[in-house]
Symmetry: C2
Subunit: 309 residues, 2 copies
DNA sequence: GATGCTTACGATACCCGTAAAGATA
DNA sequence: TATCTTTACGGGTATCGTAAGCATC
């Protein structure tokens, strides 16, 4: 048994058991992959892959159980490398932050600027995606830190820390009749066509829920991934927008007005997430603390690594 | 990075950083050990061992952090092997049960007999030791299942299941004045010289505590590891014995009488312990269920492996 | 016929062990 | 001086990649 064999096992599952792709992904030859797997199967005395002649269909039951440990071994190897890098080059390296457009564009700008000033040598990569994609990236080990508003807290394998709370706000073009309304209500809002986030993004679920709880079915004429798109269409008069308030800039968005709606929508909790059992380099913890200054290094490490026991 | 290097790291810590011993333990050469470590240090770009010239003193801080992951990787390799064996040879293999004399001699006899009948092919090894030694064996992965009365539940890295409960009993030679006493009390017992278990064994702590709580300081004339020794000296008239009741056999021990003392000593809880994150083979779970029929396979697996998340 | 797994084989690199050298107590 | 680590070197083995063989779709 050696590491290459385990890496191949892991990659095989991720590449849908196509050994050719596995070989490419690991920069080696098809035949090597094939042989490594055969060797491992011989050594263990069991078949790891379900075969139909020379076609691989999937994992056998023992193969599935083995896979669980393989994943952890490969992750731990990376942890060892990360520990070493952390000591060898204190403040150089790569940090991959998986996040949504809203966070990257508005909430994280200050954090990123501050981070770059503190550890300029670190190559910071903002990887954008949906919350589900962010979770995937974290769990597969392709991203170090995930930041989003939805779904991350539900994942068993992620450790989450609070980032900040916010409420959706309504944006309307200048001179819109809603600006005359004294007490804004959901039914008032529902009278107008709405432009807001796609399902699964930036608290859209809470928007749906707020209306559903009042038995209202608003007319969403357009949904988009980010507030910039939403604002553009609101400016065009396609409807009123429901966005995250940090996306509104009174100066730049002078053609629009924002209406506060704290009382109408439930609280959104943006969170910072990390895969459990992952070794975090010093600057990764620094970034988390820039997001939430109340988190001590010990607390973060314990939540992430202490979960082992 | 390869497995041999990690095995060497692990063994180095266990052998107090004597590379010569490490080489012997792993059936390889000194020089190989040295080179492997150097290679790994070069690859990681850090020193793992604190050196004074050519003398190894211990682990560097990064070395200590690396060690944590090394331990888990090596354990997971064994888990993979165990999964494979479990599927390859359903009911053959080895099962190491670490336990104390009391459990091995009295509580486990039925369990072992039943187990041998069910899976005769499994080589069952009863490894005797103190509760502390049992915990060590489990944590180092040298034993699969631990059974004892003390200290195992306190260990963070062990998953524990209840086995059975019991209370200490007093044994006296035939015709002993204590047999005339109607209501047995601790102060009555404390009048006589006592023969009982050594510190750390078979609930001795609870015996001490019971007397201490009553401000009594009994005269323990002899302490021994097991009840057979204790009974022998009670028969010789050296004093009265305090033992686990399962050690008393009215027929065989016809020279002795047992006095029930449920009301005098606190309850002892015997437990079955397993190292967390360890893959248990089918017959290991079977043995646990023979000890405690109320435990489902799923419950056991979850307590041991599910603790990962 | 195209894709994809397996087997065969030769070159290379890696690992191991013997032996000598260097360092520490 | 005895113990223990490091370095040097040669033999053996395992790994890798090219290429050919052969199922599956």
């Amino acid at each position: 048994m050696n590491f290459q064999q385990l890496r191949i096992l892991q990659e095989a599952k991720r590449r849908d058991f196509n050994f050719t792709e596995v070989a490419n992904a690991l920069f080696t030859s098809q035949s090597g992959v094939s042989k490594h797997i055969k060797d491992l199967e011989d050594e263990l005395g069991i078949e790891l892959f379900e075969r139909k002649g020379k076609r691989i269909l999937g994992l056998t039951p023992p193969g599935q159980q083995v896979q669980v440990f393989v994943e952890r071994i490969v992750a731990d190897m990376q942890n060892i490398r990360r520990v070493a890098e952390n000591f060898a080059n204190q403040n150089t390296g790569q940090l991959v932050v998986a996040t949504t457009h809203t966070q990257a564009r508005y909430a994280l700008t200050k954090v990123v600027a501050e981070f770059k000033q503190r550890v300029p040598q670190v190559e910071l990569a903002l990887q954008q995606g949906s919350p589900q994609e962010i979770a995937q990236l974290l769990i597969r080990g392709d991203a170090d830190i995930g930041i989003a508003t939805e779904r991350l807290t539900e994942m068993e394998d992620l450790a989450c820390f609070p980032f900040y709370e916010w409420h959706h706000a309504v944006i309307v073009p200048n001179g819109h009749p809603l600006l005359q309304v004294v007490e804004l209500t959901l039914s008032e809002i529902a009278k107008y066509p709405i432009v807001t986030y796609q399902e699964g993004y930036t608290g859209r679920a809470l928007i749906n829920k707020a209306f559903a709880d009042c038995n209202l079915s608003p007319h969403v004429v357009l949904s988009a991934l980010d507030a910039d798109v939403i604002k553009a269409y609101v400016e065009l008069g396609m409807g009123i927008g429901i966005v995250a308030p940090m996306a509104f800039d009174a100066k730049k968005d002078s053609d629009l007005k924002m209406l506060d709606c704290k009382h109408l929508f439930a609280t959104n909790q943006s969170v910072i997430a990390v895969k459990k059992d992952k070794y975090l380099r010093g600057f990764a913890i620094e970034l988390i603390q820039l997001c939430n200054a109340g988190l001590s290094t010990e607390h973060i490490r314990f939540a992430v690594e202490g979960a082992t026991n």
